[in-house]
């Protein structure tokens, strides 16, 4: 026992500290290891033959010419794999009427979207596989495609999958209060149509996996660019008939996820099935052209909505009707009815009104599947609500900020359940709005806008209020029977020399969640973050968990880390007490030393605790139970989700001659509960905002009349680059999540949820002097010009 000078006993606060990520240095040196970098002995490369048609019968597939090509090991068709791999079915069992056709790993008798894989070639190199794929002779019989959601739901529409009846995947209606009466009695009604074009997630690292079946050990190991190794462990196990404990899914570094890589891709199942057949590792990395037609898409909605407002400026009712064109199949596990559902449940959520009617209809079309992507339906809910709110304010001549203050749910009305069915308990709309208007200089911007209008310069200011449901809990996925874990776990182990190793089920695709967890653990344990190694992404070695989706890393994973670190701390203090003959309650860990709280004097070092605990148990009491590795999990059994919120604003200038929009500024006030690391949180918000700006201004999948994708390259599908993006100012309000110790709610999707709405409102604000409105996103120059032309012609602004 050493006599050391007195040390401070307060723990170094690391939670909330703006710390750079230790894990970033290797990325800055080019030492990231992504799935495309993985090379295994005797590895083969796979290329798919994809349907060039949105809808076509496969009359025959002749594979012999491909098999004869140099370097080719095997060629598989849909029939080959269907024998050994049951299809995926993306249906939520608790949603009455939800239906989907089964989706085989490779199309068997028909292709139902352009890009659907129908055959797979495996060869010594990707180039050789592509050469051979060109030699696969498919005899196609083109069939008429169903290209559009509304058309798909027409009574006369041909059913894409006749075996399930029609093209209606699912319908859900909401009725609260008496909207008919409210609209009939309304002082004013504002209405708008909204078209959200189809988008693609565009992670810079494409999807990919290396599947490795070891026939000797009968184990399947899959290196997978995926956000949830556990989910895929389950999918591979069930569909390839490998006992789950013999399936291991490892996520290496991942070059962006954003929800794109949480989905279940039938073609990835095909890769694993093929690896199992061949007994050699098989690598598939989607190239960029493939990504455009096979990565799960998002959005693709047509929405009609209206809002009734009283003379006093109070919202009386809202009504939303959504059609969501979800592609050719239900998304397995990550059901693609979610966008429509979230749109109708969450539109108008920040506002105090009781009468609400909403309907979502999800339609099958001959296009790629819609899947999960950042924000899911919440960006739509925000945009629809905020555009209508802004329109109502303009209609009544009330300033949009004042209108929002008048109508926000008051703090003292919480907790409440919105008419859409969302439970809100700790939201902070007013506080966020207050901070926002101060930070952006709202009044000055309005004055400047008015002055510039007089000089023929048209600026727009848009405010967008949003809620973000995060960290979905068991009540959300459980009843669907989807085997999706919403718990997360954390194992923390003291190493004998006094440092720590943590294995977490949370995964990190660049958000920095691992760094945030390290801060939580380090503060709790009284050590430096540099003393902790974070390990994640391996379904075999970490506690079972959910991985990264729905902004859950800190909210759930952080709570698990807090629990585990607290428990380990207690065990360490127990052992330190036994070593130093002190009561554990009198001890604390500070900067790697166990100290007496009362005096600050050191009792024993962590290194000695480790040494004795692992190697000198003979010096401990006989019945002392050494437990220097602790696993804890966290899940809120009955909590459907947490709710974060915020208010954002955008300022832009519109050139009415060209329809071009220039972004001048963006401000984000966000309440994600307790902020673990503002450096990480701010950058998540900024990245999310820019994805939302991309959606608002640039991103759309363009199709021809035969549902063939026209702009499937990065030159033609426009995504935001640095020159056009504004600087984004970020500020925080912190209303801790009341149900957890940590109090973090989640923030990953916030930027994207608000940004489309903020820009939509801002553009309509800029167009207001012309009597024009825009209703079709993205807001291309042509759409802006069309809106202006429609206003000049006195036509209703429907474009």
């Amino acid at each position: 026992m050493s006599e050391a000078p007195p040390r401070p006993v307060a723990p170094q606060p690391l939670i909330g500290k703006r710390l750079p990520r230790a894990g970033v240095d290797r990325l800055l040196r080019g030492r990231g290891r992504y799935v495309g970098d993985i090379v295994l002995p005797r590895m083969l490369h796979l290329a798919f033959v994809r349907s060039p048609y949105a809808h076509a019968r496969i009359r025959s597939i002749e594979t012999a010419p491909a098999l004869a090509r140099p370097g080719v090991a095997a060629v598989f068709t849909g029939r080959d794999l269907a024998e050994h791999c049951p299809p995926l079915v993306g249906v939520a069992s608790n949603r009455r009427g939800h239906k989907s056709a089964p989706q085989y790993p490779l199309a068997v008798e028909r292709a139902v979207w352009q890009g659907q894989p129908v055959a797979a070639v495996v060869a010594g190199s990707r180039a050789e596989a592509e050469d051979a794929a060109e030699a696969v002779a498919v005899e196609w019989e083109e069939l008429p495609p169903v290209a559009d959601g509304l058309a798909a739901l027409a009574p006369s529409a041909a059913a894409i999958h006749p075996e399930i009846g029609d093209n209606l995947a699912f319908e859900h209606t909401i009725l609260a209060g008496n909207p008919d009466a409210a609209f009939a009695a309304a002082h004013r009604i504002v209405a708008q149509r909204f078209v959200f074009e189809r988008q693609t997630g565009l992670t810079l690292e494409p999807r990919g996996l290396v599947a490795d079946w070891d026939p000797g050990a009968e184990t399947l190991t899959v290196h997978h660019s995926h956000q949830s190794p556990f989910q895929m462990q389950d999918v591979f196990s069930r569909h390839l008939d490998v006992p789950e404990h013999r399936v291991r899914v490892i996520a290496p570094d991942i070059g962006g996820g954003f929800g794109l890589k949480i989905n279940v891709y039938a073609e990835e199942l095909a890769v694993a099935a093929i690896a199992k057949r061949l007994g050699r590792p098989v690598k598939f990395i989607a190239d960029r052209l493939e990504s455009f037609v096979s990565d799960a898409h998002s959005r693709d909605h047509a929405i009609s909505a209206r809002l009734a407002v009283g003379e006093d400026g109070r919202i009386a009712a809202m009504e939303v009707d959504d059609i969501s064109a979800i592609g050719a199949y239900g998304m397995p596990l990550r059901f693609n009815i979610a966008e429509g559902m979230m749109t109708v449940t969450s539109t108008g959520a920040p506002y105090d009104f009781a009468a609400y009617r909403a309907r979502t209809r999800n339609a099958y079309v001959n296009k790629n599947l819609i899947g999960m992507f950042r924000g899911v339906g919440l960006p739509l809910a925000c945009a629809v609500g905020e555009v209508l709110v802004d329109k109502a304010a303009a209609e009544l001549g009330i300033d949009p900020v004042a209108f929002r203050r008048l109508n926000y749910r008051a703090r003292d009305s919480l907790p409440c359940v919105t008419p859409g069915g969302v439970r809100l308990d700790s939201v902070s709309f007013e506080a966020c709005l207050d901070k926002l208007v101060a930070m952006m200089g709202y009044e000055a911007l309005r004055r400047e806008q008015a002055e510039l209008r007089g000089r023929g310069v048209y600026r727009g200011i848009g405010i967008a209020t949003f809620i973000e449901q995060t960290a979905y809990g068991p009540p959300y996925y459980g009843p669907t029977e989807a085997r999706i874990s919403v718990q997360d776990g954390c194992t923390i182990r003291l190493e004998p020399s006094g440092t720590f190793r943590c294995v977490t089920s949370i995964t990190d695709q660049g958000q920095g969640t691992l760094a945030g967890l390290a801060q939580i653990i380090a503060e709790t344990l009284g050590v430096a973050t540099a003393d902790i190694d974070m390990i994640s992404g391996d379904s075999a070695i970490s506690p079972y968990g959910g991985g990264a989706w729905a902004s859950r890393g800190m909210a759930v994973g952080g709570e698990a880390a807090l629990k585990a670190a607290s428990a380990l701390r207690a065990n360490i203090l127990d052992l330190a007490g036994a070593i130093g003959q002190a009561a554990p309650a009198e001890l604390d860990i500070v900067e790697g030393q166990i100290v007496r709280i009362a005096t600050g004097s050191a009792v024993v070092s962590l290194a000695d605790v480790g040494r004795i605990g692992y190697f000198r148990q003979d010096t401990l009491p006989q019945d002392f139970d050494v437990q220097l590795s602790v696993t804890k999990t966290h899940v809120a059994n009955h909590q459907s989700y947490y709710v974060a919120n915020g208010v954002h604003a955008a300022s832009l200038e519109l050139d009415p001659e060209t329809g071009f929009i220039r972004l001048l500024g963006y401000w984000a006030v966000d309440d994600c509960g307790r902020v673990i690391n503002p450096l990480l949180v701010d950058e998540q918000i900024r990245g999310g905002v820019v994805q939302g700006i991309g959606a608002a201004l640039y991103e759309e999948c363009q199709y021809d009349a035969q549902a063939g994708l026209l702009n499937g390259t990065m030159a033609d599908y426009l995504a935001p680059m640095a020159a056009e993006m504004p600087d984004i100012a970020v500020a925080h309000v912190e209303t801790p999540e009341p149900s957890t110790r940590l109090g973090a709610k989640g923030v990953g999707e916030a930027g994207t949820i608000a940004a489309i709405g903020a820009l939509w409102v801002a553009i309509n604000d800029a167009l207001r002097p012309f009597g024009a409105t825009i209703s079709h996103q993205p807001f291309t120059p042509e759409r802006v010009l069309d809106a202006l032309a429609a206003a000049r012609a006195g036509k209703p602004a429907e474009n």
Binding site: S125, R126, A127, E130, D131, E134, D287, R288, L289, E657, T658, F660, Y698, E700, Q702, D704, L710, N711, T713, A715, L718, P720, M721, A723, E724, T780, P781, E782, L785
Partner: protein
Amino acid sequence: MKAPDFRYARPGSLAEAYALLAEHGDAAVPLAGGQSLMPALNMRLSAPELVVDIGALTALRGIALDGNAVRIGALARHAEVLRSPIVAEHLPLIAEAMPHVGHVAIRNRGTFGGSIAHADPAAELPACTVALGARIVLGSAAGTREIAAADFYTGLFETARRTDELVLEIRIPSRPEGEVCAFLELSRRHGDYALAGVAAVARFEDGRMRDGRFVYFGCTDRPKPAERVLRATLDGPPDPDALSTAVAEDVDPADSPGLRAATKAHLAAVLTRRALSVLQQRRAT
């Protein structure tokens, strides 16, 4: 997206290059900077039997002032053209266009001759060559010939270059005294191909435009002098409706996904008015 297999040759002399092209005809493609050919190969839009890398042909490099003309070698990199004091002084239109050509990495490899030969109707440089009355020098085993830029671009990605020919250099006459230029383009993002653009030169006398060229890009199938626009603007400020009509007729756009022909014509007309304004301002200084 791996290119299909092909043979590769890197001739050390023009004669060697000509011989390869003559022998293989359509089955061979010249590789200069690669910024247009490589995407086509990687996407398997192009599947030649032979790629002839002309990068070793040093005779095709360089930018020089030669009497009354600026000679830009086919292999002059965009980055060199951007930095060239000769271009800055003698070809201000091109100097103004260069920052719009792609991004720094593209400009470090892409070549002037490559851009001309590729003839992307949305590209900046072909339009500039037409506006400046450039002459394209072509060479083959059969000899060399010159063709006016206005005659060189024959259609969408089509030129008068035969498959056995190489672009050797582009000769641009020195600008007449008092000529002013304007280069405007509308693109969604910095460095993108233009939705609509205009490269214009003009000569004024006593405040009126006496001569000039307007060449559109991005909204039309190939760069050519806009004769109707010129007629509408000579001698005095044009009637706005007449100008819009002239623009629409000269540009003669087609529909593209997300951009209708009428919108292209409209944007071209807006740019034309703005270009005229720039030309007027520059004339005065």
